[in-house]
């Protein structure tokens, strides 16, 4: 096993004490699953299991950071699982998704989102998809060089959501306030309807999600394609909405000034 793989096993041991103990005790299923060499197994078995547990807030801290990015999804889980929501969320660190994600150098937010969405609930799936998109956009960094094409700026995205989801999100966020974890005990889900068959278009900028009209959605979707869009392509999109080439150029200009396009 490469040192990278071994390092990832250690990360898993730091976040999952049962896994750490099994690994150190040489429990064959766990060790085989980690595909360690004899020498590596020897190093781990010589370690003190308590050394993996000294940071007693490690998982709570990480969970808090994840809840900050998935407040509505977690509130949905809490409302579905009642008083056991807290332990339920800590189970993430012993889930296959967490362990496989770490071992494959995956993104934690993606493993967490996939784990949340395992529950059979359409509204939860839609919330998770939205919050994951926002989380991934927040991680986008602008890449090098000005190109000739028109592209969405780093951190900007356009999404199509089920009808009513955005107003549900606003309602849940308003209820949760800043202290999300504090608000989750006994949380009562608001009576908003989500219409899965309908579509609502939104723009994500700097973490904020705003409704978007059809013509702008089409223009920005075009800019969101890999490699961006040419002005000519945008003019064609504009024409479908009865906008002139001048209108399109003006809109692109304004959106560039607003930091939506680059």
């Amino acid at each position: 096993m490469s040192h990278h793989q071994l390092q990832r096993v250690i990360v898993r041991m730091l976040h999952d004490q049962a896994f750490a103990r099994a690994m150190i005790a040489g429990r064959s299923d766990t060790v085989a699953q980690a595909a360690l060499s004899d020498a590596e197994r020897g190093w781990l078995q010589a370690a003190d299991p308590r050394a993996f547990a000294v940071d007693t807030y490690r998982t709570s801290r990480l969970l808090k950071a994840l809840i900050d990015e998935f407040p509505c999804s977690v509130a949905r889980v809490a409302s579905l699982s009642g008083s056991s929501w807290r332990q339920g969320l800590h189970d993430f660190f012993s889930s296959t998704g967490f362990h496989v994600g770490i071992q494959r150098r995956g993104r934690l937010v993606e493993s967490f989102a996939a784990w949340l969405a395992e529950r059979d609930d359409q509204v939860l799936s839609a919330l998770v998809a939205l919050e994951l998109s926002v989380a991934l956009l927040a991680r986008q960094r602008s890449s090098a060089g000005p190109g000739t094409s028109v592209k969405l700026a780093a951190g900007v995205g356009v999404l199509a959501l089920p009808g009513g989801l955005l107003s549900l999100v606003h309602a849940v966020r308003a209820q949760l306030g800043d202290d999300v974890i504090g608000a989750l005990d006994g949380y009562r889900w608001p009576p908003h309807q989500v219409r899965m068959a309908e579509q609502e278009r939104v723009l994500v900028v700097a973490g904020a999600v705003e409704p978007l009209g059809g013509p702008l959605f089409d223009l920005l979707s075009c800019c969101g394609a890999p490699g961006g869009a040419t002005l000519q392509q945008l003019i064609e999109v504009g024409a479908r909405h009865e906008a002139t080439a001048e209108d399109v150029a003006e809109i692109v200009d304004e959106l560039r000034q607003d930091g939506v396009l680059r």
Binding site: R61, L62, A65
Partner: protein, 319 residues
Amino acid sequence: MIEIAPVVVNPLRVRPVVGYQSGVIDRRQSFLERVVALPRLGVGVSTEYGAQLAGGLDVMDLAESAPDHVQFLEVGVEIAKGLDADALAWIDAGRPTTYHFLDVNLDEPDDLGPDWLREVAEVCRQLKPAWLCGDAGMWHFGPRDRNHMLLLPPILTRESATDMAVGIRRLRDATGYEVLPENPPGQVFIGDMTLLEFFAEVCERADTGMLLDCAHLAIYQHLHGRSPLEGLDRFPLERVVELHVAGGTHREHDGFAWIDDDHTTAVSAETWAIFDFAVKHATNLKAVVFECERNQAAATEAGFARLAETLAVDGHMHS
């Protein structure tokens, strides 16, 4: 008889080098030739994004009231966060800095992608640091991310040291600055090399200098039941350009004794022993950081005085 107290002149107290920028590394020269051109920075403090707002040290204030204590600022940089107002004010005042990275796993090639390197180069243009440095360990798992709050020591094997050296060379080539790996703290060290053997290997393979964190080394030695100085006599101390000193807290978990690297001002005797030894033998020492950024200035006095004492006796920083 009246005793006259000796005047303690801090040998690190030199005219600060302002706006130093290497930008180009002469690849024909070995590190021990290149190190001569690195500026002597003296004593400094470190900071992280938003440290002062979180109730930590006011570095500008301390630099005004106790200039001997803050001759340079080690700026902790996470590219996703950028530079905070304190760091920007420091740069605006034309004061010297070093760039301490907080967001790169040097041994992972994917972590040193072109976009990140471009942004690092941009921050370097702003900071004009004397060099880049930082813990050579695992800052995040998976692709670069915020909020992992993780710093693990590397796997102590030759393979890992080789990959680390490749990353150091790559960062050095991309920025034109020396890149000094720092020994990270930790409670779990895995591999068939000791920490000092590992970093000696990294420095040799990358042909680079080292930032020796005395407190981190003391934690490692304590964890393994070694005396503080064990192995240091065989370590290439001539490669040590910078030293870190910080206080820690003894803690226990389930009967397991460990030292928390929480940067208090209570520096342990073991850390001071390592510091004293290193100052004596690190012939290319250029900078010392007292990592006291989470404390108020008054609490740092004794630590700075103790640093100055050793440096007055053994300090031999070459400009």
